[in-house]
Assembly symmetry: C2
Homo-oligomer: 240 residues x 2
DNA sequence: ACAAAAGTGTTAGAAATACACCCATGA
DNA sequence: TCATGGGTGTATTTCTAACACTTTTGT
């Protein structure tokens, strides 16, 4: 009755990780996969695939992520549904796009090869479909959300120095931040607390290690976090 | 090949308008439609319908809006894609949900009757599917976005007094705002300008009429806003 | 004149910003 | 000792909230 024939429903994911660029400074990178069939044969594209009837949208995103890149992101959130009639030359294709953040150590798990490669987010080639547009939008979301939420910690492990946390912000926002003011903003926000440990070995005063408190004050948690399924919203997943 | 059988793709829209509540004060209302078939026969639900193969997602939302309520909203933005496996007891149903704002005079165009009715946003009955959750999320988005964007103008006509604009904010945010400070915030933001006209007839000093300057786009068209024009996104305009 | 809402002025406190300067370590 | 980044102190500016006060109309 409501069966939709000729209309494909897919998911794709924009995966962000911080890696060193040519100058050695950390910047935003993402893995892309080379298409092995038409349309856009041999063009680079976002990892993704069709949604199966028995899996949720986020589930489909996670499955495709694992199958193509072996990644299990610490942060995964829906970005937007793209459904223009002409966005695929082949058939009508609606894509639910997610965006993900992974830690550097996770990023190393990506199976590199002829068909999977990392690209600097601001030096992308011409991608398949409308994927350049999608990445631009995801980058805008990443940078916007970095300013008012605490997603930065999705790029880090459970313990980190304030310098490491600040470098995440600086890499994503592409501007230097005052270490003194950054420290105070983080301390007064109450989202981090010192573990009591310090890191020795540097040729300078040993920095303290911090952890996230989980005292969630996420302004944008929204009703989705209280979903009946018990599924925690990606935003909150790391807060425990 | 990629044909999806048994997976329905629908659009629904949460339509917000300001109407007087029991006390006469303006508050947020939305129109719902009564379902005329299973599942959820006779339950109230968001207006919506299936996406046709030859129409965009937003186009499908606008078409369904017109067919069920005769509304042509001034503001329409994608909210979220809901796709849990069990959200419809019938078949697998993925819904792309939009949210819309309409002016009071537009709201009057809604064809009321046995199967279409306005409800106060905070006094909803048990709705069909997961529509209570969806409305909660849309309300959260409305209130959040009211604080940092200029969507309030979508509830008003081309000319308005500062008191009218303030009442929109107060109705949505459900808290009183200082008229003096509100005036200054609006004036310094540069998004409104006086028309030179005043409104006479009140038993008090005639208020000036203002218009929106157009310095910032009303609709957040998502990634599409910079596709053709290369325009800066509204939210980023003040950060440079 | 009075009530009511429009509109202006002023001040206190909070928050962001800039930057001087001390601290603790490795070499 | 010096270089290096970690960390603290503090003055300046900017933003926000609170509220006293003046203006202009209708009755």
């Amino acid at each position: 009755m409501t069966t939709t024939i000729g209309l494909g429903l897919a998911v794709s994911t924009v995966i962000f990780a911080l890696r060193a660029d040519a100058t050695g400074a950390p910047s935003v990178w993402l893995p892309l996969v080379r298409r092995t069939r038409d349309p856009y044969l041999d063009r680079w594209a976002l990892p993704g695939g069709m949604v199966r009837v028995d899996e949720s949208l986020e589930g489909a995103a996670r499955r495709n992520l694992g199958e193509t890149t072996r990644l299990e992101p610490t942060y995964l959130e829906q970005l937007y549904a793209f459904g223009d009639v002409d966005r695929s030359p082949d058939q009508r294709l609606v894509s639910i796009v997610y965006w993900a953040l992974v830690r550097p150590d996770e990023a190393e798990r990506v199976t590199l090869g002829e068909n999977v490669r990392w690209f600097a987010a601001d030096e992308l080639p011409d991608l398949a479909f409308d994927h350049n547009l999608i990445v631009d939008y995801a980058l805008w979301r990443l940078r916007t959300k970095m300013e008012y939420s605490r997603i930065a910690h999705a790029f880090l492990g459970p313990r980190f120095t304030l310098a490491e946390l600040r470098e995440v912000y600086e890499a994503v926002l592409r501007k230097p931040l005052d270490p003194a003011n950054f420290r105070r903003q983080m301390e007064t926000s109450g989202v981090i607390e010192p573990t009591g440990e310090v890191v020795t070995g540097g040729r300078h005063r040993p920095p303290r290690l911090y952890r996230y408190t989980g005292a969630v004050d996420l302004v944008d948690a929204g009703p989705l976090s209280r979903r009946a399924t018990g599924a925690v919203r990606p935003d909150l997943r790391n807060s425990a």
